[in-house]
């Protein structure tokens, strides 16, 4: 068992006191970020990247901390779903269906505890899946040539909008814009492209500045527009009374949810929202008559939570093995890898084995930490929910400024960040997704490198791009990724809305 040995080494890395401490810190911070309204996981991780640099952390520590933030944010998202009926992020939407009715019945603490256990189960199953699947996929990916990689990148863009995505053409527009921004700077042959002789542009545009601007600053502007200035009403959480039997009661559900979520997370284009949706509907169909779904069934809380956490760990598989992220947050984690000078992809498993396995081990440890953190400390997180955004968001903005400023100590970067923020606001108004822009920025250089490489090999013959069976398969999937949302998307979206609509009409 080669894998087991690597995993043990990984534990040795992750259990070093410093790494463990930062992992715990990250898990705490992540839960907080997930719980706070208006700070999605991608956003939270993005703001923390520059800070991880300024702390001067070694790569594995930085990565462990931010992986813990990622896992924590997925945990945190459920708190506001259950207590306020406001999903912290999109995948947490399904948790509202049974979580909020439970809270209304005075069983908020139980709902929170159940969701924590289910999240834990989901992540655990998916992390085990990750350990088994990732090395295999990495080995397979070693057979990819430049043409296959180019097709793979196209596939990543095509499926990024997801099957539930609204307008795939807008994903294409966004990806093209991101890739264009990535071409600014001096290219591999030493030619200056689109630099307009501005010295600061010679090295290209730092994607971290773009990410923080697009996410954090545009979020501030959106909040100002929605005038959601005041805090939420205060919620009291009852004392926890949860028996072992009740926990066992949700175990089968959590297990199924975790497996389904993992599969949804690994597949390109599915993502965490679909993971939680599938596992909820399946559970409802399976136990439909025996349960009271939509009216506060504990299993209705467990299913989407384990599904969504399973998906978020599953999404790490394509990111780590192929260097192709399947979601916004994993795209941001990819940004971290690239800026730590680690080339993600199959080679990472051989060249940076300690880092990869350290992260995977950290994910396992982080799940235990999160479970321990979440059950006794839920009161603190609930209190933080009542911090009004009108104080919170300006402070988050300040943290973004400090982080970006500390990268190079110039104000030029800050102006750039504000420009990206305003652009992000406009894009979001036009419903142009931001994640493909970021993915374009991240993958642009690699994509161009592979295209040039492939065409150099074939001496300019473009047919090399679809000359192997593997490449053709990737092209077909990419095409499906763009076409399917037109066919299946409206149906799936309607179903999701129906579920939510039914539940809110029965609970009122």
């Amino acid at each position: 068992m080669e894998t087991l040995g690597f995993l043990m080494d990984g534990f040795a890395v992750a259990l070093q006191p410093q790494n463990l401490m930062f992992g715990l810190f990250g898990a705490f911070l992540g839960t907080l970020i997930g719980a706070l309204p208006g700070l999605g996981p991608a956003n939270g991780v993005a703001i923390l990247i520059p800070l991880a640099f300024t702390l001067g952390l070694p790569p594995e520590t930085a990565l462990i901390m931010l992986t813990a933030v990622y896992a924590g944010a997925m945990y945190g998202g459920r708190i506001s779903s259950i207590l306020l009926n406001i999903p912290g992020d999109e995948p947490a939407m399904m948790t509202c269906l049974d979580g909020y009715p439970m809270a209304q019945k005075g069983k908020a603490a139980e709902a929170l505890a159940i969701s924590a256990v289910a999240s834990f189960m989901g992540s655990l199953i998916a992390t085990v899946g990750l350990i088994l699947l990732a090395p295999m996929l990495a080995k397979f990916a070693l057979t990819f040539g430049p043409a296959e990689y180019f097709a793979l990148f196209l596939l990543a863009f095509a499926t990024l909008g997801g099957i539930t995505g609204k307008n795939p053409m807008k994903t294409v527009v966004a990806a093209a814009i991101g890739l264009m921004i990535a071409t600014v700077g001096i290219d591999s042959t030493g030619v200056q492209r689109f630099t307009f002789n501005v010295l600061e542009l010679y090295e290209g545009i730092d994607f971290i500045i773009a990410i923080v601007g697009l996410f954090a600053i545009s979020e501030l502007l959106f909040f100002i527009e929605e005038r959601a200035g005041s805090g939420k009403e205060k919620i009291t959480v009852n004392k926890l009374k949860l028996s072992f039997k009740e926990i066992m009661h949700i175990m089968p559900t959590s297990f199924r949810g975790g497996v389904l979520g993992f599969i949804a997370g690994v597949l390109p284009g599915a993502g965490a929202s679909l993971g939680s949706f599938i596992s909820y509907t399946l559970e409802k169909r399976l136990l439909g008559r025996k349960g009271f779904f939509g009216q506060g069934d504990p299993r209705g809380v467990a299913a989407p939570e384990s599904g969504n956490n399973g998906a978020s760990s599953g999404a790490l598989v394509p990111m780590l093995t192929l260097g192709v992220p399947g979601s916004g947050t994993t795209a941001v984690l990819l940004a971290l890898l690239i800026s730590l000078n680690i080339t993600p992809g199959p080679l990472m498993f051989t060249q940076n084995a300690d880092i990869v396995w350290g992260v995977i081990a950290a994910l396992l440890i982080g799940n235990f930490l999160l479970l321990l953190l979440n059950i006794p400390m839920v009161g603190i997180f609930v209190k933080l929910l009542s911090v009004p955004p009108m104080f919170l968001l300006p402070i988050v903005t300040m943290v973004a400024f400090v982080g970006i400023y500390s990268i190079s100590n110039t104000t030029f970067d800050l102006y750039f960040m504000v420009v990206f923020g305003v652009a992000g606001y406009i894009f979001r108004k036009l419903e142009i997704p931001l994640v493909p822009i970021i993915l374009g920025l991240l993958l642009g250089p690699e994509m161009e490198k592979n295209l040039r490489h492939a065409l150099d090999i074939s001496d300019g013959d473009w047919t090399i791009l679809w000359n192997s069976g593997l490449a053709i398969g990737l092209w077909i999937f990419a095409a499906l990724g763009l076409i399917l949302p037109y066919v299946v998307g409206p149906i799936l979206r309607r179903r999701m809305r129906q579920q939510v609509g039914e539940a809110s009409s029965t609970s009122d």
Binding site: V172, I177, G190, R193, M390, V402, S406, L414, R452, L455
Partner: protein, 150 residues
Amino acid sequence: MTFNDRIFGVLMIVLAVAYGWGASQLPEPFGGSEAVGPETFPLLLAAVLGLSSLYMIVRPDPDNAWPWNRTGLELIIAIVVLVLYAMLLQPLGFIISTLLAVGTLCWRMGARPVNAFVTGGVAGVVVFLLFNFGLDLALPLGLLSFLEVS
């Protein structure tokens, strides 16, 4: 109404054309031209952006409303505050500029002025102390540099 997507689509086509033209003007790399040069990938992108923008013009989505009222003014104020924050960070120093920027933002988002600026001041001082003493990273002191203890 479907103006947003159409206008944006036209702007993007303009961008695609300008970008593509810019790419075709790129100098040949040192050592003579090869099958693929620095302009190949950008030209491809220009074509993709042009075509997808054309689709946005032909089949636009319904508009989201723009805030043309007071909220729009608040947004502009916020953007101006952010630009000024970036501009004044070095001359005024981190603490004072943070006090002003965070304070103004909190105030404009609906907090009472006193609370807002106290929050800004406290946040500025705490983060400054944390960075300069905890993490050994110098944020600018600016006007307060007379306080510096070396």
